[in-house]
Symmetry: C2
């Protein structure tokens, strides 16, 4: 299929420049969900959606939605999020929102009608600004219900109810934002990789196969704080040696269990107590995080990790506690959606590269109710969630072309299935 | 040899009660060197020394010295320190000072003359209140000279010169406090074990064989901070995994190198950066401490540790830096001084138990210029340098009896050698 959308790089570049002005003057590139900057950006985005000929509305979850193509419950959907973490992310989420906007403009420019209405979405609060995030995409999928909102307070000291209402939502009726299975005929999202796989292979873009589920926990080892000089080695209950064994074990477990190339495991945070040079550490608290794009591998990894904590604890006669704080299954993206995206790559003569997403996205949250597909573009040195996050305008433009072509291929696929 | 000194438990108990009043009302059992409480305690101690019939003076290093038995350069010496760390140590050092005082009183009570004058000493600033500590015992041994005092400031904001002078010293002439080799015919110190070896074997007291030298360093591993989800395992430069390997390696090195039962090794302090659950740690700074009572083992342990840092660094392609901040050789106590102390144990029908000291003491600092012997008494659960530090009055009294008997045995030994 030929490329018929005429993506205009200068429009996109201009969008980025303006959207970047809605950031916290105190912290670089910061636009947290529910912040003043988030509200201002939303107003500007709504104006751009309108200028692209879209009907603009906020659903009950305060997702900002621009719609093209008349009535009907069933739609195609594209989107991502414009909110960021603190100090970062000029491209994370944003390329997906501005990309969808550019495609809506191109559809308008060329007066192209799809076989279903199209909705482009800036999802509310994808980043972990509140504990229940991502908020908008989870509400659409029915994964957050009314009672999950109870007691949730934003970092700005408001209830999430007030924060959602202030963004144009209807927090007392959030189930209205829920879409039924089949109502979204297909969902597409463009995103930066947030890793360095594409960059290392000198590729600008790739097709996402699956989205890893992060499983996060906390491990506590409680030994005995003692004089580091006066306590013979066999008499020690050194919590840090136990913790070190677990750090090493996690690396070994993820690299040897199941489909090991799909797994990652990290101890990112560790607190040693009393943390004094001449005292045997009496307590260590540490995070454990394991992710995999393969469910069976993830289950095995988690089981091995739990056994390892027990084993270390028994061997060293040290108390231990492992608490899983957050468990998420990996989300495989449907093969036919991967095929839809692949066709777009082929149409544009872009080398085919499949890769998993180890970071999570709105696509993962909406996937339970709709077939989702994702296009990744490379980013500099895999850096993300930091002021240094960077993607070139050339790669962004290519990503948007692939997203647009994927939409047309999705439309074609839908028509074919309807007829067939 | 019979026990001829009549140790009076009620006097000792009373000393402890009064000395404990000279502590910081803000922090339990705290009497830091050069503090107001240190000065007040010194005044009271000087009065007690005088009441025991001693001639009292401060040497140039402001060590508080009580002398019995007339003129002459050569002396027997007993002592320890009455200063503490923050929040701790009701017995650490103090049993040695009050023990020496009680023995001086007993010598006066029974009108016993030794073959040399006896000096009992409350050494100035044994605890790490200033970087050059222990101050008093190192000056006596000539290990701190005038120029080492330059630029040293106490936690109370004074120069160490002023602090020493305020305690009765002569900071511009500290070499006057130095004793020549042979001037101290023998040194004895009673101390709590600060470990749990005696308690575990249900023994009240032991004979110290050697004092371990602490070697302290800092290791820095610099890897690459990256997204914990998006960075495949083979692409990581995880500084915490490197640090964990070193923690495990240190345990292995000290327990398998040289006279391994003499070694200890500890990572007590660790700082992980950026220390976030979803970021691969980019940098770890950590302390390393190794001690041994055996010099050869200590040398081998240090060498292995240095090699291990290199090995981990190369294997993981992570930058590393090991800096030794403090190196101290182990101090073996002379066999004839161990024998002197052993005779005292035999005289009092106390089971013979030899053990090393893995904490350092004034005895270690004065050992280069005099034969030193030490008696250890047990302390509760090995706890020290904390408000929970505890030793029973029964064990203290026994310790003082052993110290006194050791002094008489030292005197006997000195006479024998003089004749022989």
């Amino acid at each position: 299929m030929d490329e018929i959308l005429e993506i205009k790089p200068e429009r996109i570049e201009n969008d980025f420049k303006i959207l970047e002005t809605f950031t916290d003057p105190e912290a670089p590139w910061t636009r947290r969900a529910f912040s003043l900057q988030n509200k201002e950006a939303r107003k500007w985005l709504a104006d751009q959606f309108r200028a692209a000929g879209l009907d603009v509305y906020n659903d009950a979850a305060s997702n900002l939605i621009g719609r093209r193509g008349g009535d009907g419950d069933q739609v195609f959907m594209m989107g991502s999020h414009s909110d960021t973490v603190i100090e970062g992310g000029r491209f994370d989420g944003i390329v997906g929102v501005l990309g969808a906007l550019e495609i809506a403009r191109c559809l308008q420019d060329s007066d192209i009608e799809l076989s279903l209405p199209l909705e482009i979405v800036d999802f509310t609060c994808e980043e972990p600004t509140v504990p229940i995030s991502p908020v908008g995409s989870r509400i659409i999928a029915g994964d957050i219900t009314q009672k999950d909102l109870e007691g949730v307070i934003t970092p700005f000291g408001e209830t999430i109810h007030k924060a959602i209402d202030d963004l144009g939502g209807d927090s007392s009726n959030i189930s209205k934002a829920k879409r039924a299975l089949g109502q979204i005929a297909g969902y597409l999202e463009l995103h930066i990789e947030q890793g360095a796989v594409l960059e290392k292979e000198e590729l600008a873009a790739g097709i996402v196969t699956a989205i890893a589920g992060p499983c996060r926990g906390t491990v506590q080892f409680i030994g005995q704080p003692e004089h580091a000089g006066a306590t013979p080695m066999p008499d020690r209950k050194d919590a840090l040696v136990a913790a070190a064994e677990l750090v090493i074990a996690i690396e070994k477990i993820v690299t040897t269990t199941g489909m090991s190339e799909e797994n990652v495991g990290t101890v990112g945070w560790m607190n040693v107590s009393p943390n004094m040079i001449n005292v045997v550490p009496g307590q260590v608290d540490m995070s454990v995080e394991v992710r995999s794009t393969d469910l069976e591998s993830l289950v095995l990894v988690r089981k091995s990790l739990e056994e390892e904590v027990e084993k270390i604890s028994e061997k060293r006669k040290i108390e231990s506690k492992l608490t899983w704080d957050h468990l998420e299954d990996p989300v495989p993206l449907p093969l036919f959606m991967q095929d839809v995206v692949k066709s777009a790559f082929t149409d544009l003569s872009i080398p085919i590269k499949y890769l998993p997403s180890r970071a999570s996205h709105d696509a993962a949250r909406i996937a339970p109710i709709t077939p989702a597909g994702m296009v990744f573009i490379r980013c500099l040195e895999g850096k993300s969630h930091c002021p240094e996050e960077w993607t070139s305008m050339d790669d962004i433009v290519l990503g948007i072309r692939l997203l647009g072509q994927s939409l047309l291929r999705l439309n074609e696929n839908f028509l074919k299935n309807k007829k067939g």
